[in-house]
Symmetry: C2
C-alpha cells in the first residue's frame, strides 16, 4: 500500500469483466474476518462506522440498533460501501519507495435494505452463526422485543460493484542481494477463551467457543 | 458491535466536550496499526480505499500515487474520513442479542491537503518511520523522481471532528452463572522476518526489522 503498489492500490477500478476466480477471491477476503467499515454519505459528507458483518451467498448481512438514526438513513437505501482490510505483513525493500505492505482488501458498493418479517430472525441468526458457528443452537431464540430493537440489513453483491485487492510476497523488484529485503508477517491469532468472572466453577466451554478457539476464522 | 452495544456503536456522536483523556484514547487507537480506511464522496457516492497512514502529532499522514485520480480529488480538499478498527475479541453471552465484540475503533473527519515542497520528503519519512521505525536511516534517501511520483497528504485532527469507540471485557450483563459466557480474545501477532529469496546467505536482519519483529506495534 505504499508507493510501489499504489497504482493498483488507490485507483478504484471496478472489475465488471472479472470472472469466477476473482469473485472467489472476493469471498475469501470477505469471509476472513467479520468486521468491516461501512461508509455512506450524509449531507454530502462521508459517514463511517465499523460494523460486524457476514457474507451470505451473494449478499452481505449487517445489523444495528433501530435507535441509530444515521444507520436507518443508510438502511433506507443511501449509496453505501462496506470495506474490509487485513494487514498481512510489512514489505521491507532497500528503499522506502519500494517498501510496501501485504494485505487483503475488499470493497462492496451498493445499497443497504432492511430485512423485515420472517426473514429478519433468519438473517440475524445467519450473522450470529457466521461469527460463532453453531451458537444459535446453544442459546435461546431471540425474543420479539430483541428483534424489534435490532435493525437487520442486507446489501447485494452485484457484479461490477466490488473490488478486491491483495498483495503478498517480497518486494516486487529484487534489489542488492547483500542488503536485507523481505517481509515481516502479521497475523490474527485467537487466544484461549476467557470465562466471565461470574461463572460457576466447572461450567463447560460450549462447542461453538471451542471450535472458534481452535481455528480462526471459524468459517 | 452487536445488539447490546449498538446504541453506542452506530450512532456517530462527535465529542466536542471530550477532554485530554479521550484524545489520548484516540491516539492510542490510531497508533495501534498503520492501516485504515479512507472514505470520501465522489459524485455523491462513497469512495473508499484502504490506506497506510500514521499519526504525526495533531495530524494524520497518508500517501498515494500521483497517478491516482480519485486520490487527487481527495487531496484537493473533499470531505474525507479516515477510520480504523481493531477486532479484539468475540464476546459470548447466553443470548445472541447480548453477544458482542470487543474492539477499538476511531474515525477522524476532515479534509486532506497535499504536502508539497520541503515538507514532502519529511512527511514521507515520518510515515515510513512510523511503520518501520529507523528504516529511513538504513536506506538511501528517496530520489526526486520517487518523490514526484508520490502524493503526500495530511489531515488535521480537529477537536470535535473525531470519535473513538472501544469495548472490552465480558458481556455487559451477567447471565445464568451455570451457562458459559466470556470472551474469545483475538490479537495481531508478528512472525519471524522472512528474507526475500534472492538474498545472499548471511545478510543480517537490519535493526529496524529486528525491532518490529520483537514487538508490534513498533511505536
Amino acid at each position: 500500500m505504499t508507493s510501489s503498489s499504489q497504482q493498483h492500490q488507490t485507483e478504484l477500478t471496478r472489475k465488471p469483466d472479472r470472472g469466477r476466480q476473482d469473485r472467489a477471491d472476493l469471498d475469501v477476503v470477505l469471509d476472513a474476518m467479520p468486521v468491516g467499515t461501512l461508509s455512506t454519505v450524509v449531507d454530502g459528507r462521508p459517514w463511517v462506522v465499523p460494523m460486524l458483518f457476514c457474507r451470505d451467498g451473494d449478499r452481505l448481512l449487517l445489523h444495528g440498533s433501530t435507535g441509530a438514526g444515521a444507520l436507518r438513513h443508510v438502511a433506507a437505501g443511501s449509496p453505501a460501501a462496506l470495506s474490509v482490510v487485513h494487514l498481512d505483513g510489512i514489505v521491507v525493500a532497500d528503499s522506502t519507495f519500494e517498501s510496501s505492505a501485504n494485505y487483503r482488501s475488499a470493497v462492496v458498493y451498493g445499497s443497504l435494505s432492511p430485512i423485515e418479517g420472517d426473514e429478519k430472525d433468519a438473517g440475524l441468526r445467519k450473522l450470529s452463526d457466521a461469527i460463532l458457528p453453531g451458537r444459535t443452537t446453544e442459546v435461546r431464540p431471540s425474543t420479539g422485543k430483541e428483534l424489534a430493537a435490532t435493525l437487520a440489513m442486507s446489501m447485494p453483491i452485484v457484479e461490477g460493484s466490488w473490488m478486491v485487492k491483495t498483495r503478498s510476497g517480497p518486494p516486487s523488484e529484487p534489489g542488492d542481494p547483500n542488503v536485507w529485503e523481505g517481509v515481516v508477517p502479521l497475523g490474527l491469532t485467537v487466544g484461549p477463551p476467557e470465562p466471565a468472572p461470574w461463572l460457576s466453577a466447572g461450567v463447560p466451554v460450549p462447542a461453538s467457543v471451542r471450535a472458534l478457539a481452535d481455528g480462526w476464522p471459524a468459517r
